[in-house]
Symmetry: none
Subunit: 211 residues, 4 copies
Amino acid sequence: MAQSDQKKIKRTRPEVMDAIRDSAIAEFALHGLKGASTQSIAERAGLSKAQLHYYIESKEDLYEKILEHVVDEWIRVFSFGDVELGPRRVLSDYVRKKLEFSFDQPLLSRIFANEMMRGAPVLTPMMSRPRTRTAHAVECINHWIEQGLMRTLDPMLLMMNIWSLTQYFADFEYQARYMLRVKEGQPLDQEHIIAEVTAFVLQGCGVVAED
Amino acid sequence: MAQSDQKKIKRTRPEVMDAIRDSAIAEFALHGLKGASTQSIAERAGLSKAQLHYYIESKEDLYEKILEHVVDEWIRVFSFGDVELGPRRVLSDYVRKKLEFSFDQPLLSRIFANEMMRGAPVLTPMMSRPRTRTAHAVECINHWIEQGLMRTLDPMLLMMNIWSLTQYFADFEYQARYMLRVKEGQPLDQEHIIAEVTAFVLQGCGVVAED
Amino acid sequence: MAQSDQKKIKRTRPEVMDAIRDSAIAEFALHGLKGASTQSIAERAGLSKAQLHYYIESKEDLYEKILEHVVDEWIRVFSFGDVELGPRRVLSDYVRKKLEFSFDQPLLSRIFANEMMRGAPVLTPMMSRPRTRTAHAVECINHWIEQGLMRTLDPMLLMMNIWSLTQYFADFEYQARYMLRVKEGQPLDQEHIIAEVTAFVLQGCGVVAED
Amino acid sequence: MAQSDQKKIKRTRPEVMDAIRDSAIAEFALHGLKGASTQSIAERAGLSKAQLHYYIESKEDLYEKILEHVVDEWIRVFSFGDVELGPRRVLSDYVRKKLEFSFDQPLLSRIFANEMMRGAPVLTPMMSRPRTRTAHAVECINHWIEQGLMRTLDPMLLMMNIWSLTQYFADFEYQARYMLRVKEGQPLDQEHIIAEVTAFVLQGCGVVAED
DNA sequence: GATGAATGAGGGTTCATTCAT
DNA sequence: TATGAATGAACCCTCATTCAT
């Protein structure tokens, strides 16, 4: 929209790269790797197809980079917190952060979801590093269970449950809007959702109420 | 693959139509509407592209039909049950049915997820009928809350939570396998998952334990 | 239209052949030989494509037959009349017959026009017989000129002029309607046109008024 | 044919566009919109199909542009002249210009004829502007009739008559050659035709001879 | 850096026709 | 006769990418 109005504002290389990444995110989120077209990405970024290919290596490569970006963002944002703070505090924070990310960056989540639904053919080769983060979270949870701070449950499944509960508001935003009767332009009631989901998770884990 | 070896096993029209639908489901689940190619669908079904177009009207139309099929299946399978049975029984059944569907028909769920992530451009025009089913579920839940059978919560958000918790095992099957360290060929421990998710939901709703 | 309402009224072979010819005339008039599709012809005739090809040899052949039909019709209808009747009578009759044919059978004329515009590639091989009819007309006209019944002119060009003046109302019916401001459904004022064109031709030939 | 021998004579963009337009004119004149193939147009212009589509938007669009070109050319060339010059002079000029255009640019005329025969589906939406030109001509003719410079007649029909008489030598060039026994390569006797048609028109209108 | 052009493959779809049944 | 199915070519058009300039 904006880039078509103002003609020929020379952009620096990083600016162009950002524009490309944003455009690609939008297209990949909409149509997946195969369905996205370099044409559309170029247009969105205010470039010609030839120009685009000057900046990127290939569509596949661009996709990979973005996927990497998604994973990096998640690692950056979703720290599980300190065990000592207890499950109530840690889980509440975690759910909030995940939900806020879903509200703010739904497209990133959708790209990831798309990749997963296809069996993660591109992500798998990238994922050589060990999953220390999840391991850490599992440890925490087990520790809390042992301490009687939450009910006995499968920690890994808890992580997956939280994942799905929070991811939902990014991937299925449209469905959420439909069910909550919130029109396209209007914002969801984020605090209400955070409160409800948090309560659901805490209760689901049997986290004892603070006294 | 196999079908190219054995020549000319005449199939009846419904058999061919079924093969086409299955192939299309696989392709659409993998690549979405835009990314799926009639070429691939035809090959999967053991047909030439020209042959395929003898049986279908267009790619769009085929997609629509399948989407309709998905919705119909869901309506058929996911009845919410009788209020009188109480939340424990009804929610347990509901969660089980949804999870089993996710385990059995993950592709259908993924097609739906894909459609949703794109803003439901094809589904929306099809959805004229009122959402009586969801309305019914909401009523039930409210009734249970009033009766003190579960804690106070937003019924619609509960429905969405259950949706995401169960849908996860279809859409993110690959992620689930990765986290639970279950190899491609091997089955997930479905009963364990059902038990854990059910417990999580019941606890999350604050459904009182049976005595 | 009619054939889609009444299902399965068995038609005799000639009836079917007639339906095919009519459909083909409509399609060829609209799109020419290359642009017409057997699909459309079959549909118009209430047949399947396979059925159609049972009745016809090929699209080309069908076209040829129809072209033959057009030429035959013209030969049948457009006799130039007797010299003895004089130019006024003969030319008036001739113009009237040609115009009435244009009004009644514009499609036939258009197929012919189309063939001509393409250089008559199909018609030429069919036209081996000598053009005795035109020769006869030229003779008549020359005779009338010698007798002082009309002004001196090139008889062949006169024939071509009459041809174009009359053919116009078939081939350019749409333009005529546009210029005369006659809506699609309504009929042209045929008698007015016949009167005007006849007067124009007679005057153009310098045919002396009857006393 | 020739262009396939000599490789890589780089053409400027306008040159290529011209080649495309000429090729398209030839194909559309031969086969109409539906019957013309981009394949043939590309080949004629010495391009690949993909190349062609780099220069044009679509077949339909190319056709539209050409139709516009035809109409523009006609508007440019066919001015009706000044009333004061009198019918003899004006009509003679007009007939000559129209005939010369038919001789020089028969293909353009045929594309128009083809469009008309199909009911002008593409032209109609383009024709919003008022037909001031025809209105002007009608006025002139009426004026001359009132002044006794020509016989009483329907001015609009006169215009249509002139149209058909002159258009004939473009659309039915092949028939004209056949009847006048002029072989494919050889030119028609244009001056003779102009003289005869002009005389026919003037006489047909009853335009009084100059003294 | 940026642009116009080219390319060969593939996109979805229709073609005229044939062949069993 | 009529029908469903098959076929291989052709339809218009877009694809991702490359290459001179």
